[in-house]
């Protein structure tokens, strides 16, 4: 039995994060990656396995330096890593849906015993009903004072060593972080705006500038539709906006910024971008957009604060990498 004992700083973040996991699982685009110190859920932007390296990655890290109770069998057989896909095709194996888990978690929280181990995520082999063959499940267990919630999610057989290595590289590859990150405007309105954009076109240009400007645009033969957000908070390299740019149109401002080297612009699929915004299901406290050096990909980072503070909760990390479309146009 391989398991991961998780003591988050606050359980409430996990409840919202679970909503995102459940969403990924419903859409059959979820893999998980269990290691000694963390569990990672990889939400693929495409159902096609070939393009799995561009995706949303939710990493839940253990609060402790060593994971307590990690079974040595992980270490011995699989170099401390195991990965599999959450697999909805086995309907008969697990008739329960994810949503009851979400609300049950809330009620368990209400009676949670602070001394108990808050959450256990286990990879187990169980005997499903109507079958004689034990199959793997990812089990979520939360214990409260007087009640507990257990959810079994059917998973595929663990991936081969080669596949795990590939997934590990894709996920943890040291691509360079963007030099400039801008804080996203309110995610729910961005989400509904991009939802509207989906009806208009397939490809959008997104640009991020050191002045704190974020610009999204779809351009087809019949319509150019865009949104510009200015004076956003900037992390990393920044520059002061040029005053003479103020009277110009958004498009011209972006072009000038790119020419000066103060902004970068890439093209992404609207559908991918919309999917990455689904991460707002996890109710992060803020999000940042940035373009990796040389326009390699678009990255979105989500942060969770410890409730009641503005301190980042380091046990959760969620980020998304979107592939850049190579159109060859400016």
């Amino acid at each position: 039995m391989n398991f991961f004992r998780f003591n988050p700083n606050d359980f409430t973040i996990f409840i919202d994060v679970y909503e995102l996991i459940a969403w990924g699982e419903r859409h059959r685009i979820l893999n998980f990656f269990l290691s000694k110190y963390s569990i990672m859920f990889v939400i693929n932007l495409e159902q096609d396995w070939e393009r799995r390296n561009m995706s949303s990655i939710l990493q839940i890290k253990n609060g402790y330096k060593e994971s307590r109770g990690a079974d040595d069998s992980i270490g011995r057989r699989r170099d401390h890593r195991i990965a599999a896909a959450l697999d909805r095709s086995g309907h008969g194996r697990c008739p329960r849906s994810s949503s009851p888990m979400h609300s049950s978690l809330r009620s368990v929280l209400a009676v949670r015993d602070s001394n108990s181990n808050a959450l256990l995520i286990k990879l187990v082999k169980k005997l499903p009903p109507n079958s004689t063959q034990a199959t793997p499940f990812l089990t979520f267990e939360a214990r409260g004072h007087r009640s507990a919630v257990v959810q079994d999610v059917p998973v595929s057989k663990p991936l081969s060593r080669a596949d795990v290595q590939e997934l590990h590289l894709a996920v943890e590859s040291c691509e360079q972080l963007p030099a400039t990150l801008v804080m996203a405007p309110e995610l729910s309105s961005l989400h509904s705006f991009v939802d509207g954009m989906k009806h208009v076109g397939d490809v959008m240009a997104i640009s991020v500038s050191k002045y704190g400007d974020l610009h999204l645009q779809i351009s087809t033969s019949l319509i150019a539709l865009g949104a510009e957000f200015r004076k956003l908070k900037v992390l990393g390299e920044r520059a002061d906006p040029v005053a003479e740019d103020n009277g110009l149109s958004s498009k011209t401002r972006v072009e000038r910024g790119v020419q000066r080297g103060d902004a970068m612009s890439v093209q992404v699929s609207v559908k991918h971008f919309f999917k990455s915004l689904q991460c707002s299901l996890a109710k992060p406290d803020c999000a940042f957009f940035g373009i990796a050096p040389h326009g390699a990909c678009l990255m979105v980072f989500f942060q969770f604060f410890v409730p009641g503070t503005r301190v980042t909760d380091k046990s959760f990390s969620l980020h998304c990498k979107l592939p850049v479309l190579d159109t060859g146009s400016s």
Binding site: S189, S192, G196, H199, L222, I223, A224, L225, E228, G247
Partner: protein, 303 residues
């Protein structure tokens, strides 16, 4: 973004509206097919959007200048241009973000004769769109509606009841005959296809449904079901909720005119001391008109 202080003397029209949702509802009511071109005509009185099914059905949406917060008209004559109706609606939808008041500026023409839209309620965030316009073809059929006689032949019925009646009349699978008779004062909808269905609205029996009635002689015409259906299929939910009435008039030659009223009110918290059910200031209404040609018996009308 050019300075907002002075009126742009190059533009024919610069106007601002604060109720994008209402405008979208009004435009959706004239969308009966997926791909439709709309003709926009600008004047000092407001904007008219005309949608047509060649030779058979025409719809007009009147957005009077009173619906706009600002309406600066500087053209001579009445500029006309065509846009894709679906694209225009999808575009307007991106401007209406829930829970926020959005002020939208419409400007025509842009540098390339586009229709320009821009949100103007926030200095640091802006949604904008430029929609390509097309030179309109001349409207093939001038839907000059003329009264049938000295007494109008018309009735006003609850929009919800009219929609329901027309929805039900799909079943016979035939064209629909609409008859008005003065005695007893009533409107009869009839379909005779692989089954018969007749729906009567009697004026004195139920004044809740049939609100008004004017008719001095018996008259009866047939209309193709799909065009009749188009007049009510996309009535916005707000019209049904507000309990509005729709007016139908039969003109010369049997041309049917159906008029709806769509509320274009700004979404706001209702005043606690006013019973606002059904009440709207008159200037916050968009007028929708449909013109349906009758079926011609002998030669090819609308096939």
């Amino acid at each position: 973004m050019s300075s907002a202080a002075a009126v742009d003397t190059e533009a024919d029209l610069v106007c601002e509206l604060d109720s994008v949702r209402g405008i979208v509802d009004a435009l959706c009511s004239v969308r009966w097919k997926r791909f439709q071109d709309a003709l926009l005509e600008l004047s000092q009185h407001g904007i008219v959007i005309i949608v047509e099914e060649t030779g058979c059905l025409q719809a007009k949406v009147y957005l009077q200048r009173e619906l706009f917060i600002k309406y600066d008209y500087a053209a001579t004559g009445r500029p006309r241009f065509g846009v894709s109706l679906g694209l225009f609606i999808d575009c307007l939808n991106t401007f209406s973000v829930l829970g926020r008041s959005n002020v939208l500026e419409l400007r025509y023409p842009g540098p390339d004769m586009q229709l320009m839209l821009r949100s103007v309620d926030s200095p640091d965030a802006c949604i904008y769109a430029e929609i390509r316009t097309i030179i309109p073809e001349t409207i093939s059929w001038d839907y000059n509606f003329e009264p049938a006689g000295s007494t109008p032949l018309s009735f006003t019925v609850k929009s919800a009841a009219l929609k329901e009646a027309i929805d039900d009349l799909e079943w016979p699978g035939s064209s629909i005959q609409i008859s008005l008779q003065p005695s007893p004062p009533s409107v009869i909808f009839r379909g005779e296809g692989h089954g018969d269905l007749q729906i009567d609205f009697n004026y004195y029996v139920n004044t809740d449904l049939l609100i008004a009635f004017s008719c001095d002689r018996q008259v009866s015409h047939r209309y193709k079901y799909k065009f009749l259906r188009a007049t009510t299929s996309n009535i916005p939910a707000s019209v049904l909720k507000d309990n509005r009435g729709s007016k139908a008039t039969i003109g010369r030659g049997g041309m049917l005119k159906i008029q709806h009223l769509v509320s274009v009110a700004k979404p706001s918290v209702p005043h606690p001391h006013i019973d606002s059910a059904g009440y709207q200031q008159p200037s916050r209404i968009a007028y929708i008109e449909f013109f349906v040609k009758p079926e011609v018996e002998e030669k090819n009308g609308c096939v």
